[in-house]
């Protein structure tokens, strides 16, 4: 089923648990540099933003890939097939959001695969700054707005 990760910077506390959970989920090792998610902390502004693949509907990485190693699968995930990958790294340059990474350690290209439907980053995020949304349902924000309207109506 199609899923989407949603990021709420207001809730992010800069702890980088998502980086740990991601690397462990994919490699059984703890290594932020093997994580598909990276947390950026803007110290002076007191704002922190986790960044990861948004699973584009028209992925630049897939468009530029010469071997078809990147494609959108049935679940709507921009998936990377390592067997077809030349590690030419064109996708690394092409992604406008910087969400395809190359690891000098493993000599491989890697990206978020939504952990087969149960993303570790969202699962372990202590504050809900990263969460999973099913695009088919109304976004959480709409529900929040509805809750507020409901309370107002009740009070009136």
């Amino acid at each position: 089923m199609a899923q989407q990760l949603v990021v709420d910077p207001k809730k992010c506390k800069a702890c980088r648990t998502c980086e740990l959970a991601c690397s462990f989920g994919h490699h059984d090792e703890f290594n932020p540099r093997l994580a598909c998610v990276t947390v950026f902390n803007f110290e002076e502004d007191a704002i922190t933003v986790p960044v990861m693949c948004m699973q584009c509907e028209e992925p630049a990485c897939a468009a530029v890939c010469p071997t078809g190693a990147l494609s959108i699968n049935a679940d709507g995930v921009v998936s990377h097939n390592a067997d077809k990958c030349l590690v030419c790294k064109l996708c690394v340059s092409a992604c406008p959001l910087g969400n395809i990474s190359f690891s000098p350690a493993t000599k491989k290209v890697f990206k978020c695969d939504l952990c087969e439907g149960d993303p570790m980053c969202a699962k372990f995020c202590p504050t809900g700054a990263i969460s999973v949304m099913d695009p088919a349902t109304a976004p959480a924000k709409k529900k929040e707005a509805a809750d507020k309207i409901k309370s107002t109506v009740e009070e009136a």
Binding site: K13, A14, C15, R16, T17, L20, A21, S23, F24, H27, D28, E29, F30, N31, P32, R33, L34, E43, E44, A46, I47, T48, P104, A105, F124, P126, T127
Partner: protein, 608 residues
């Protein structure tokens, strides 16, 4: 225990005198027996250093050590320990810090660093995975923590993590700390002064490797359980995130345990709300922030705007301890002044507990006429926020009276003829809980292996917060046994690389559970807790050999009755509690580990 089971298996040994850098295998037997970080660092230190040396001499060593859980998904496990003999106390100094530095050191492939000797000229240690070198720190010398960190990031790269000292450490302020990630501190006992005495300005590290645990599946299960408990806990999941440790101001004041004016005027402060976490959150909190891998996020990012106060600025903190030391202990209820003093301590790498308590001591000495105004340059009375902030600045800049303040309250009070007015134990200032109103914490202060300290056995947890069980803070019975358990468990927790603050929610089963899966141990909870007791007794043995004074408290706590509040009329009933404590520890009546106890802990062959 083997490499890969929470450990990288490699230590760096850096000789600053001759510039040699050696990689050596981690002693796995000691790693097993002393857990890591605080315990393992102390074991290495005791193996290699004569307890009688001068802490600021080239003979001293300075050890950075991580734990087997550091840099993993274990609950709040971003921590490392700095171990050396403390120049403030002369006792074993072990200062624990969070942030992101410790994990990065492990990702670079090192469990710890042992610094030896003294560099001829200011230098810093550069670690970029396999590339490890000493570099010139000429331009960095004299720069404060934030300046030096920015300069090092510009020079080495944005993704390097920096641990550095400020001029306070360079100038031998006896409570100078080592600051990493700008605002996280290996704060107490003057580890920064030891670093400065070696002409070592900073350690910068970038690591791209991995940390592995022994049993990934079991580890994940333990971690998920511990994290769930933390998130659902009222203190770890709600209170600390919303109000930070400053949430304690009103709570401690309600039991009459918030010391006022150097403890001279008791421990009930009528203006407590002004310096509380609630007031801070309402007025100056931008957001709360977590250390590496932390669910709690107790850190405060704070700001005072120029139109709000003359003490405007931006930074992190304060913790409850600084809220008290610069607040009620100095008779000050101006939260902006408290923030300012705390920010200066972060930027200038100074321990705010000792700093504030030393100023409070100076205020009492001034008011009684023991310090002439000409020595200070201005009147220094309780309640004078401007004078308080000025004192912090003067200490950071080693200016005039600031040079005397930089030696801590004991040496200050002694110089002016009243050592009894230093609110310190073993020359380190006691923190923000009055031992007359909370008896068990008095026992903790008296017996702590690093002098006046709350985080060696946090008795506030059972005595005030009721965690894990509520005990009466005014009762002495049973406090010895309770404190022993807290001290041993804390030694264990500190040594794993997990943050002590998790223990409001987690107990031995959760700590031991995560540890077992990380290192591949089949030991029982009790066997693992015994390692904590072993660490405690090793620290004690070092202190005995170093000639550290016996366990006692300032006369004020022992003889001056609290004048008001719920604990009115109380003094610290130390002798009763000490006798109980020594007995449950299996120590002699004089407070020394017996040979039977040392044998039980396999410490009988330790020689100094």
């Amino acid at each position: 225990m083997t490499v890969g089971n929470g450990w990288t298996g490699t230590l760096l040994r850096v000789n600053l005198t001759d510039g040699t850098i050696i990689r050596e295998a981690l002693n796995m037997k000691d790693a097993n027996d002393y857990v890591g970080a605080r315990g393992l660092g102390t074991k290495y230190y005791c193996n290699e250093v004569d307890p009688k040396i001068d802490p600021l001499s080239a003979e001293n060593k300075l050890i950075f050590m991580t734990g087997p859980c550091t840099g993993t998904l274990a609950s709040s496990a971003g921590r490392y320990e700095v171990v050396s003999k403390s120049p403030l106390t002369g006792a074993i100094g072990a200062a624990n810090s969070g942030g992101h530095f410790g994990p990065e050191l492990k990702y670079a492939g090192y469990d710890g660093i042992i610094f030896e000797g003294k560099a001829e000229k200011p230098c810093y240690l550069y670690i970029n995975d396999d590339v490890v070198e000493l570099r010139c720190a000429k331009d960095l010398w004299g720069k404060n923590v934030h300046e030096a960190t920015d300069m090092l990031n510009a020079e080495c790269g944005e993704d390097f993590r920096v641990a550095t000292i400020a001029p306070s450490g360079e100038n031998g302020v006896l409570f100078a700390g080592i600051m990493n990630d700008k605002n996280r501190a290996a704060g107490r006992g003057g580890m920064g002064a030891v670093m400065g005495s070696k002409n070592l300005k900073a350690v910068v590290v970038r690591g791209t490797g991995s940390v592995k645990v022994a049993r990934p599946e079991g580890f994940l299960k333990e971690v998920a359980n511990a994290r769930k408990m933390l998130i659902e806990h009222p203190v770890c999941g709600e209170g600390l995130a919303a109000f930070g440790t400053e949430i304690l101001v009103n709570i401690i004041n309600e039991v009459g345990g918030l010391p006022v004016n150097n403890g001279r005027d008791g421990a009930s402060y009528d203006k407590a709300y002004d310096i509380s976490g609630e007031n801070l959150a309402e007025k100056h909190l931008l957001k709360n922030q977590g250390c590496f891998g932390c669910t709690i996020a107790c850190g405060r990012v704070t700001k005072v705007k120029p139109d709000e106060s003359e003490f405007y600025g931006f930074g992190e903190g304060p913790e409850y301890e600084a809220g008290w030391s610069f607040g009620s202990d100095c008779g000050i209820n101006d939260i902006a002044a408290v923030l300012k003093a705390n920010w200066i301590c972060n930027e200038e790498g100074m321990d705010p507990i000792t700093m504030g308590a030393t100023i409070a001591c100076a205020m009492e000495l001034f008011e009684m006429g023991a310090i002439p105004e000409s020595d200070i340059g201005f009147p220094l009375r309780f309640g004078d926020a401007e004078a308080m902030v000025k004192c912090v600045r003067m200490t950071a800049d080693a200016q005039g009276f600031g040079k005397i303040l930089g030696q801590g309250s004991y040496r200050l009070a002694d110089k002016y003829g009243h050592p009894e007015l230093s609110m310190s134990v073993k020359k380190q200032e006691m923190p923000a809980y009055d031992g007359r109103a909370i008896q068990g914490i008095a026992l903790e202060y008296a017996t702590s292996n690093r002098g006046g300290c709350h985080v060696r056995g946090y008795m506030i947890s059972p005595e005030v917060l009721g965690l894990p069980i509520k005990t009466d803070p005014l009762v002495t019975e049973g406090k010895g046994a309770l404190l022993k358990t807290f001290q041993d468990l804390t030694a264990l927790c500190d040594s794993t690389g997990i943050c002590l603050f998790t223990t409001f929610a987690l107990g031995l089963p959760e700590l031991a559970g995560q540890y077992r899966e990380a290192v591949d141990s089949d030991e029982s909870d009790e066997e693992i807790l015994l390692k904590g007791e072993r660490i405690w007794n090793l620290e004690k043995r070092f202190n005995m050999e170093a000639g550290v004074e016996k366990d006692t408290l300032p006369p004020r706590l022992l003889r001056e009755e609290l004048p008001s509040g719920p604990a009115k009329g109380k003094v610290a009933e130390l002798q009763t509690m000490l006798a109980d404590y020594y007995e449950v520890r299996g120590w002699s009546k004089e407070g020394e580990p017996t040979s039977e106890k040392l044998k039980e802990l396999e410490l009988q062959d330790i020689s100094f």
